[in-house]
Amino acid sequence: MFQKQPTTRTSAAITYLEAIRAAQHKLLSDDPRVFIYGQDIADFGGAFKATKGLANEFPGRVLDSPISEDAQVGMAIGAAIEGMRPIIEMQFADFSTCGFTQIVQHAATHKWRTGVPCPIVIRLPSGGTAGAGPFHSQSMEALYAHYPGLIVMTPATVEDAYTMLLEAVEIDDPVIFCEHKYLYYHLKADGLPSTAMPAGKARVARPGRDATIATYSAMVHESLACATELASDGWEIEVIDLRTVKPLDTDTILASVSRTGRLLAVGEAFPWGGVTAEIIARVATEGFDLLDAPPMRLNAKDTPVPYHPNLWGTHRPTATSIMAAMRKLLGA
């Protein structure tokens, strides 16, 4: 479904993945405090090539780590205490569970406990792709957003992948940077922006009148595809791209719902307690009277992410299933 999105194919086209690489290139160039540490990221350039060529250009600042997620994050914390700006690349978001203690117990609590900030960025190649299976597909934003002291970014566009990564490194707090693997190669833009909305602000990805979809990351594109489709039936669906899920820009969501009266929250993560629950809880508690109909939510199914594409295509929300939910919400 997502393939329907218009992609620019000019010679200057840059992909979501290239934007991440470009941001890291700029960070290494501009800021001597920055270094990158992760598995296979030096000469090899990373499993997805997000650091291709950087080790060569910035010797000693782009380093291969042993297979030790806990120590990778632990070392970044120490380096951040000493004033550096480490970026940790996890090979897949799923493996960050092996570094979970250092992330949620150590990095997240450091500033509050000691007064000394802990500015690390952990890049999580996140989300599902065909054939990746239960251990290379997870969306872990809800886990990290639950813990105080972390900022969780979920860029959905090439531009945001670039500017938000720059901002993530600048922020004096630990940032979990959830980049979506499904967007790596598919998603393209004409070039890289020089200005950006700040973290913590959601973006109206498509304005509308009849209902709001609040979503993030790859699901922004499925939702936009759904909105395009429904537009041919005369429906005007507003799509909100959250950009960061912690903090969550409740104001922008509420402003949208105040215009549309209807809300569908869409996320690719597991159904219990994820971003969609938080969105609905906020709108229900803070904007109850704005709602003309019960809000709805759509998540992945409550099983591990299946390996086979036939199953995976049904496990995660898609433009098709979002459309079905939206028709229900619209009473159409």
Binding site: Q39, D40, D43, F44, A47, D64, S65, P66, I67, S68, D70, D94, F95, T97, C98, A130, G131, A132, G133, P134, F135, H136, P271, W272, R297, L298, N299, K301, D302, T303, P304, P306, Y307, H308, P309, N310, L311, G313, T314, H315, S321, A324, A325
Partner: protein, 343 residues
């Protein structure tokens, strides 16, 4: 550095040696032929997801699968096609998992290297490296509690996986419990693209055995004779109650990390060094020079393997794919406690 120890008991008769070697060789060959077929299918776009092969590591893996018995526990890793088959995996099930058949043991829910049949002692690895060490140990712990004796459990890791906390915790725990666990470290000199120099700083990983208080063996993983002797001995010692055994085998993977990888980073010097040898070539030489097989016999074995592989793959290819509408979207065994998938 520890060296392979002398044989546990009296040497088996030459005839036993021959049969054992030929048995192992058949599994090496079958794995090799099956993986070559999978590589072709992968390049032909017939396989979704990654394909990770064990080319070059078959002797080590097949020796382990052969040394284990029915009733033992095996937790293979990504390069253990040979060991899996030797341990008793149905080759059609192997093919099914790659080719997406709904009839495979994972029914399309998980793929390829993650397959297993835990109820038969053949555990299904998770991706998170090192995790299987503790779980195979736990299986052995359960067997002990149930009063079963003479059971062995084995698992394999790579050089990279030795850096994980899970590997350390699992092996230490197994040592404290003195469990009959055999851990094979296939040191193929690289973890994906990362060379040993960036993975550990000791002279040789076998030095870690001392620190866990377990037996350690060091072998050339490209030498099938060494693999068979040492692996069978370690398994026998574990079975006899000597506690965990760790074998570190040097070798190379003669393929990329996965079939997407051209392994350009691999050192030429290593490739042309003794550990760059193809264990199947070495086996052929050893078998022929020992007078245990003729070239014709070995060619014949390869033909048999090819037929078996073709048969398995064509069966799997004809089978139904997973169907999301027939799929049981329930992660729990206790159905009454499952929450409906929200749509």
């Amino acid at each position: 550095m520890l060296q392979a120890r002398a044989g546990l008991s009296t040497q088996p008769e030459a005839n036993e040696d021959k049969e054992r070697y030929l048995g192992v060789y058949r599994w090496m060959l079958l794995a090799r032929v099956l993986e070559e077929k999978l590589a072709i299918l992968y390049r032909g776009g017939k396989i979704t997801g990654g394909v990770f092969l064990g080319r070059g590591q078959e002797a080590l893996s097949a020796a382990l699968g052969s040394a284990l018995k029915k009733g033992d526990i095996f937790g293979p890793l990504i390069r253990d096609m040979a060991g899996r088959l030797a341990f008793g995996e149905d080759i059609t099930d192997a093919a099914r998992t790659y080719l997406g058949s709904r009839l495979g043991p994972m029914r399309g829910r998980d793929g390829n290297i993650h397959r297993g049949e835990p109820a038969k002692g053949y555990y299904a690895m998770i991706s998170h490296l090192g995790a299987m060490v503790a779980s195979v140990a736990g299986g052995l712990f359960a067997r002990r509690l149930k009063g079963e004796t003479g059971v062995v459990g084995a698992t394999c890791v790579g050089d990279g996986a030795t850096s994980t906390g899970s590997f350390h915790e699992g092996l230490n725990m197994a040592a404290v419990e003195k469990l009959p666990l055999v851990v094979i470290v296939a040191n193929n000199q690289y973890a994906y693209s990362t060379s040993n120099a960036r993975q550990y700083a000791c002279e040789d990983l076998v030095q870690r055995a001392l620190g866990y208080g377990i037996a350690g063996y060091k072998i050339d993983g490209t030498d099938p004779t060494a693999c068979i002797e040492t692996v069978f001995e370690a398994v026998a010692r574990a079975r006899a109650g000597d506690g965990p055994q760790m074998i570190v085998a040097d070798l190379l993977r003669l393929v990329g990390h996965g079939e997407h990888d051209d392994f350009h980073y691999m050192s030429h010097a290593l490739k042309v060094s003794p550990i760059g040898r193809d264990c199947l070539d070495v086996a052929r030489e050893q078998l022929i020079s020992a007078g245990w097989a003729t070239p014709a016999h070995l060619d014949n074995l390869r033909d048999q393997a090819s037929a078996e592989v073709e048969n398995a793959c064509s069966t799997a290819l004809r089978e139904p794919l997973p169907d999301p509408n027939q799929e049981d979207w329930c992660a729990l065994h206790t159905r009454r406690l499952a929450e409906g998938a929200e749509t």
